[in-house]
């Protein structure tokens, strides 16, 4: 009767339509949609956690003629994270977009983006994924430009174009697969895929196109300006969710579709690019002069860690080690999602109250906004990878498996990345400790601060310690 898979996509879409038609009610309708969607998403996750991986044939035709939606553990984990983060961003946005005008622009696009995210995580059809990618890309670029500055428009135009290049490339891969295998369903293609020129080309095209969207070094050039110039709630969504969606898709293709096609050399290539991303992104974050630019480069770096798992996953045979590695990967992705969203929301608060986000001049701001500073600190813990954040345990597994496989160089990258991350996070936090007048109270604007704080707290204290249930969830889909 109720199909949580379809609802997770259809509800935000419905909300977007209503908000488009009734712009005067956008805030109320938007929040209502946000709440309902999150409830559905969590319900979906809990169902999968209970051991049932979900499947739904839209239109009732069944694959390969119709389109299916599917939720295994991996999808459910990301759906849960994405929807919680999106809910927090929504609450924050009710405060951030104060005026009616920008609020009207924000809500319909934001709900469309949300719909695309859920659709992407749950999709089981290769072409449907293309449509979702485009919906995601278009709405994200439009949202990113809402600041109205020239920099934002320029950066997001570039983001849009790069995204289009990526999705076109992806689509050619899909066309090749359809040519050779006559179906668009992910599982069906996976079942019949054999090594050969088609598989190879499709792998290169699809993963290559997605890497552009995932901003893997050196294809990250578009990300920092786009994420740094967007309004803070949008930056949070872009860094925490939109990039994650592309990475999720790479992972999905890597593990499910091209399992057996991918070689260790291919994994090594992506791992090395990931390592490059960690070092370069962290270095640029350290040199960044603005808080949001720092956060954006930090995203480049964190994306790198996720890709460093690929060579290890490819080299590890099925078994408990591989499952552990996968759990760690998801743990890292979730932690980063929460942390980066919290970080950007807090950065937005700082920017709003001081009128700028230049790190050098943050001294007073950090002191007068204790909640925002605290949020930056907690999220920073997760970004550095200090315990008990999920990042710490994920890195533990990553380094452990790297050493066990004799690929010790990844450990060196993790070490360097951790130290650089500590340097760039504490460069900001150090500004908090000066002799400014003491704040009288912890919260100054609860509606915008509490969501950010909760996200950051979840990243630093929650996700890591919940590794066990997450592992159960991931195992549930198999």
């Amino acid at each position: 009767m109720f199909d949580p898979l379809a609802l997770a996509v259809a509800l935000p879409l419905l909300g977007a339509l209503l908000v488009t038609m009734l712009p005067g009610w956008s805030r109320a309708l938007g929040m209502l949609t946000a709440l309902a969607t999150t409830v559905v998403a969590l319900w979906l996750t809990v169902t999968v956690w209970g051991g049932a991986s979900l499947h739904s044939d839209l239109g009732g035709w069944g694959v390969p003629l119709g389109i299916a939606l599917r939720a295994d553990g991996l999808a459910a984990a990301l759906v849960a994270m994405a929807n919680l983060v999106a809910l927090a961003i929504s609450i924050n946005a009710t405060g951030y977009f104060g005026t009616a005008e920008s609020s009207r622009k924000f809500w319909p696009l934001w709900l469309l983006l949300w719909s695309a995210l859920n659709g992407l995580f749950l999709a089981a059809d290769l072409f449907n994924l293309y449509v979702m990618l485009e919906l995601l890309g278009l709405s994200a670029a439009a949202l990113g430009a809402l600041t109205g500055t020239r920099e934002a428009a320029e950066a997001n135009l570039r983001y849009l174009l790069v995204g289009l290049l990526g999705s076109m490339t992806y689509l050619l891969g899909v066309a090749l697969l359809y040519t050779a295998y006559g179906t668009l369903d992910l599982e069906q293609v996976a079942a019949s895929l054999t090594p050969g020129p088609v598989a190879l080309s499709a792998l290169a095209l699809m993963v290559g196109g997605l890497l552009l969207k995932a901003a893997l070094f050196p294809l990250h050039f578009w990300l920092p300006p786009a994420h740094a110039n967007a309004p803070a709630p949008v930056s949070a969504a872009l860094s925490a969710l939109v990039v994650k969606a592309a990475i999720y898709l790479v992972l999905r293709l890597w593990l499910d579709l091209f399992d057996g096609i991918v070689t260790e050399a291919a994994g090594m290539l992506l791992g090395l690019l990931g390592a490059g991303a960690v070092l370069w992104g962290s270095w640029r974050a350290l040199r960044a002069e603005r808080l949001k630019l720092l956060a954006a480069y930090s995203t480049v770096a964190q994306v790198g860690y996720l890709f460093m798992f690929l060579p290890l996953l490819t080299a590890t045979p099925d078994g408990p080690e591989r499952e552990r590695l996968l759990t760690a990967l998801v743990l890292l992705a979730l932690t980063h999602g929460f942390a980066k969203a919290g970080f950007f929301l807090a950065a937005g608060l700082v920017q709003k109250s001081t009128g700028h986000d230049r790190i050098r001049e943050l001294g007073g701001a950090a002191q007068s906004l204790p909640a925002a500073t605290f949020t930056l600190g907690l999220a920073g813990v997760a970004l550095i990878g200090l315990p008990p954040s999920g990042t710490f345990f994920a890195k533990w597994v990553l380094v452990g498996q790297a050493i066990a496989l004799g690929q010790w160089w990844w450990a060196l990258v993790v070490m360097a990345g951790t130290l650089l991350a500590a340097a760039y996070v504490f460069r900001v936090l150090a500004r908090a400790f000066n002799r400014e007048p003491t704040p009288k109270c912890f919260l100054t604007d609860p509606r915008t601060e509490i969501p950010a704080l909760l996200l950051a707290a979840l990243s630093a204290l929650g996700v890591g310690l919940a590794a066990q249930p997450i592992a159960v969830l991931l195992g549930a889909g198999d």
């Binding site: 488009t20 712009p23 739904s56 696009l109 469309l112 050779a180």
Partner: protein
Amino acid sequence: MKASRLQTVLIPLLLSAIGAVLFWAFWSGVTGHEGERLAALALARVPESGASNPVTSVLLNFRAYDTLMELAVLLAALLGIWSLGPAAAPYQPAALLLNSLVSWVVPMLIIAGGYLLWIGGQAPGGAFQAGALLGAAGVTLALSGRPNAGLPDESWLRVLAALGTLVFVLIGLTLMFLGLGFLTYPPALAKALILTIETGATLSIGATLAAAFLGGQPRATRTAEP
């Protein structure tokens, strides 16, 4: 300079190599595939779909979900365009001769659009083509100097742009609540539902394309539109 010269040589070389691999892959994909792909399956089930044009069957029934999301993409583009600023100033009113031409062309386009929508169930045509013609009618009006391309003012335009998708998603959800599944049409109603959805979609597509052509948020109308 040196780098760019290197690029002008390297990029085509690289792309040629990629092209060779792609062609090889395409070759082996085409020759290696013995079956029918989805053609036979899809064609066999067209009669159950509520439309006799196979493409319409796929678009609005088998893969209706894709089409729904595609309408969402169109809407996202329009909203994005609106968020980037106001529409361009209207074109100068056209000369008298041209104007009378416009008053012929526009109704023709609208009628043709209606025909394509109607015929789409059986023959080539359908919501997108029909919507495109409506959009073209709007573009013609815009080019002849109508400030809002014959579109209603913003609040109604919003309704119009979202309407098709709204009808689509509401039908999908209703069917789900009825226990049939999201976008699962009962065979008896399929034809009517598809036509309803297509009608809404045509209007929305036409309005959206015309509004997109204006390139920004509609300005307050100065004169009443015909």
